[in-house]
Symmetry: C2
Subunit: 332 residues, 2 copies
Amino acid sequence: MKTIRDVAKNAGVSPATVSRVLNNKGYVSEEKKKRIEKVIQEMGFEPNQVARGLAKKTSNTLALIVSDITNPFFPELAKGAEYIARSHGYSLLLGNTKGVDNESNDYIKILMNKYIDGVIIATHDIDSQLLEKHRETPMVILEMENEIENACTIKVDNIQGSVTATEHLISVGCKKIAHIYGPLYDQTAKERLKGYQEVIRAHDEYKELTVPGDFTIDGGISAVRELLDEHPDIDGLFAGNDLMAVGVIKELSRLKIRVPEDIAVCGFDGIYLTKVFSPEITTIEQPIYEMGELAAEKLIDRIKNPHLNSEHIELKTKLVIRQSSNRNKLSL
Amino acid sequence: MKTIRDVAKNAGVSPATVSRVLNNKGYVSEEKKKRIEKVIQEMGFEPNQVARGLAKKTSNTLALIVSDITNPFFPELAKGAEYIARSHGYSLLLGNTKGVDNESNDYIKILMNKYIDGVIIATHDIDSQLLEKHRETPMVILEMENEIENACTIKVDNIQGSVTATEHLISVGCKKIAHIYGPLYDQTAKERLKGYQEVIRAHDEYKELTVPGDFTIDGGISAVRELLDEHPDIDGLFAGNDLMAVGVIKELSRLKIRVPEDIAVCGFDGIYLTKVFSPEITTIEQPIYEMGELAAEKLIDRIKNPHLNSEHIELKTKLVIRQSSNRNKLSL
DNA sequence: ATAGTATATGAAACCGGTTTTAGAAAATGG
DNA sequence: CCATTTTCTAAAACCGGTTTCATATACTAT
């Protein structure tokens, strides 16, 4: 392994001068600069990132902490984040929190000892107390309106999205519209429920019909069963996320209930699966890949400017109408 | 940030002794050991991994390089690998190669400069020449029978799997069975094609019907169109992977061709989507999560024993019969 | 001509660990 | 009892960069 001292020797200068060239920082004469660059080229020298990290207290590495990378929401996010990270010379560490208790296994502390430059949090499994403890670490938090000082949060306007979803079901002629909401410790779930309620309450002819779900496919299946038990006559269903919408449609198809003819279904998230599923699923699309990119960009921003204030970014969602709610004869 | 020298001072010993306690290596008297451990505890000292890395030329970090994390095969693999990595005190770096040219952007070289301890390769986008260049790095290569010295390769028995798939379609009564194969630079695709051919050639009454695909959903859609153009009477279809099977079924459903009644379909891989899709898809299941775990285990093994010989592991696949090929009246 | 500033460079200290070296003390043994 | 060997410890060197400090020279400005 070639070191900066080898380069220095070959170029007849001191290591300090080589370092200055490497970092493009401080005074170096044109002549020596040329010479040093030539030697670096010839030797194929690449600075050791670990040594550099020790000296500068950085690692050029970001971390993305998700609850479970197999949840289809996250790979897209990860891809966007990794792309931006790499473009800026950072690598991306991946962590799953599902099934790991955070107290005894403080992920962020481990990361700090590795001089990880910043963290993107996309999980509910790390409580805010723990986050608060690492306030000094550059952080971007997704889908949670967290009040960590210094942090940047990125989320979509869930209320608006879910208002749009509910109104869409109304507009395609649904008369009894139910909502399956996610776990309420999840702010996202709460907001989506709220949007649904707002719309229903604004229309006297509609009645609030809600059942809890857990944001999984199986949760969607059991929720829709429960729902049909009590209200066999529903004709519109807004699921709190796409995975539950998938479960719902699977179960309805098993019960020979037609989608969208008998029940129109709308999900939320815009995961790839909705496009692929048959019938294709109407959903409130979040710009997931772009959120990953934005998260990484904002994080890098914060790494370079450590004293940015906290910032809350709210993105717009987009209604994507597909077969599962398409009751007009128009083929899409 | 507390350093080993602070600990040493507080415990009235030298840094070297603290290091010996930390690494449980070399002679330390019971009495000092106790004292040092107590001080470490009290101070909440945690060794800086970067400094340690510089001295020991390690980082306690593995890298997983995939072509595209949004391909549903990879998240499961990543989860298994990350789980094992974390259990052994390693972190996992994630890299996507899709759309990145490897010559100018030598991923592994970047990783080496970070003292990444080992790499799991699950992409075809890094050519073997490049891999060869990093022969000294502990490596586990998935789904490619590569002849890198020192490396460990993990794959499934694709031929056996695809023989099973084809025979399964025969056993449910298909008379004209076609195969959509993947890109042939991919060894996996080649082997699966071969398994199909073996079976078809062993039966005089069957004829080889193959079309190329590209292992994507859209590829499945166009391949099945092409296939039906030429052979509208096929009644069995073995897709080279699950994504193409999904595309196939989507397109068949659009054409009002019933699955499995008119055409029975079987995929390969066992991604989650096959369980979720409607109809549920028969597939040759690979133990994806376990492959991720195994890859990480083998890699860690190789890191700890740097002079292991190259090793080729071949895992068994499992036929999972679901609706898409279930032509008996038996409900599953 | 002289003070003051910008440019240029190398030596040395530093980042925070690990490892080698060397010497002292204790245990073993012939 | 003296020669080894084993145990124990601290000082110093090291990993491979960056940064500070000190010094020297070349420009400006007064």
